[in-house]
Symmetry: C2
Subunit: 207 residues, 2 copies
DNA sequence: CGTTTATTTTACCAACCGGTCAAAGCAAGG
DNA sequence: CCTTGCTTTGACCGGTTGGTAAAATAAACG
């Protein structure tokens, strides 16, 4: 007897390993080719499994993609959530920028998975965008508006400030190939951190 | 007898119309689903033709995509090309930002087509990125470096300045769905122009 | 008008797609 | 060692994919 209906059976050692391998392979493939452009064979090969074996662990292509996306969403909002209204405004915002850039550096595939989903019209996350995301952004925009009203930061459009942070940081993950083609050897993220730091410091420091 | 081997036959009225319809439909579909995620049936339907009829005008799916991409590349570089070394530095750069934002507003599908290609690793334009694009960017970066050295603009990393202009302007086309989900009614491009103008003015005006 | 050329359609193909199934192989506990 | 349940595989299915061949139709033109 358990408190909940349907005891969640513990995963076996093999299940844990193979599910992880599949999700990693799915991330690799989906983030490159998008949902429609990816095939189960591609994912199975990348995971080192046969296609039927892959479908033993996940019921469908959709299910793999869905698990990746839902797992991603909260992680993606973390850096913004961590921005505190009671902190020092400029450092709080710069910290947000740095955390977001760090995510692009460490999780470029996740960034591209998200970019692909949005480019395709966000069919599977539109609801979350208009719900959770909008709520969080609206709340944090209100905080920023307060800081501006109190003269602690320059007077900026809060929503567009947030968009610009998303844009600039994610660009280094999503357009990585292009940036490296132009820069050559140089590591993009080195220069990016200094550049974004200077940009937002200038932008936000009140006159 | 002609001066060239293989006279380029003039296109008939119907050819002109149908090729245009196919390219427009291809742009619509490819920009949404990427190359691998798009099907000839989708494109044919969007163009109001049957699939074999579509293949009467273009030899393959690849050919449609290739024509769209090559046609796009020069257009895409125009705004940067128009930035003149002998102009007034800050207005020249702000003009570049405005032209680029205007392209995002007027040609969002082209922007997404390009974004899709880059996300997929730029398999079909990598050479152009490392050639034409890099050459143009390097040249304009040198101009910007000169302006900074002469104290006419603030001291910024020229390449990252250009990346940030790409990023911020294209974001409004590529992530349109997300931005509208957060903003609600408000037209993104209205606020964007004022925001980007203020941002780059602050960033670039020398101390 | 008739004929020559451009266009469109119908029927079709082999390869690939997501997914199923039953049988085979395997690990672990008694 | 042998049973029981977990894991893997190979063969297969109906539908879709990019692309072709040839016949049917429409336009252009003398």
């Amino acid at each position: 007897m358990s408190a909940f209906p349907a005891d969640p059976k513990p995963l076996t050692r093999i299940q844990t390993k193979n599910r992880a391998a599949i999700l990693d392979a799915g991330l690799e493939v989906f983030s490159t080719f998008g949902f429609r452009g990816s095939t189960l064979d591609q994912i199975a090969r990348a995971a080192g499994l046969s296609k039927p074996n892959l479908l033993y662990y996940f019921p469908s292509k959709e299910a793999i993609h869905a698990e990746l996306l839902t797992g991603l969403l909260s992680t993606w909002l973390d850096p913004l959530t961590l921005m505190r209204a009671d902190g020092d405004p400029v450092p709080e915002l710069l910290g947000y920028v740095r955390r977001k850039l760090e995510m692009s550096r460490q999780f470029p595939r996740e960034s591209r998975l998200f970019a692909n989903e949005i480019l395709q019209g966000a069919p599977r996350v539109k609801a979350a965008l208009e719900g959770e995301l909008k709520d969080l952004v609206d709340a944090k925009a209100e905080v920023i508006r307060g800081w501006a009203a109190a003269g602690k930061i320059a007077d900026v459009h809060p929503h567009h400030l947030i968009f610009s942070i998303w844009s600039l940081t994610q660009h280094y993950a999503d357009f990585d190939v292009q940036i490296r083609a132009v820069l050559g050897e140089e590591d993009p993220f080195e220069g990016a951190e200094a550049y974004l730091d200077a940009l937002f410091t200038k932008m936000l420091t009140p006159a």
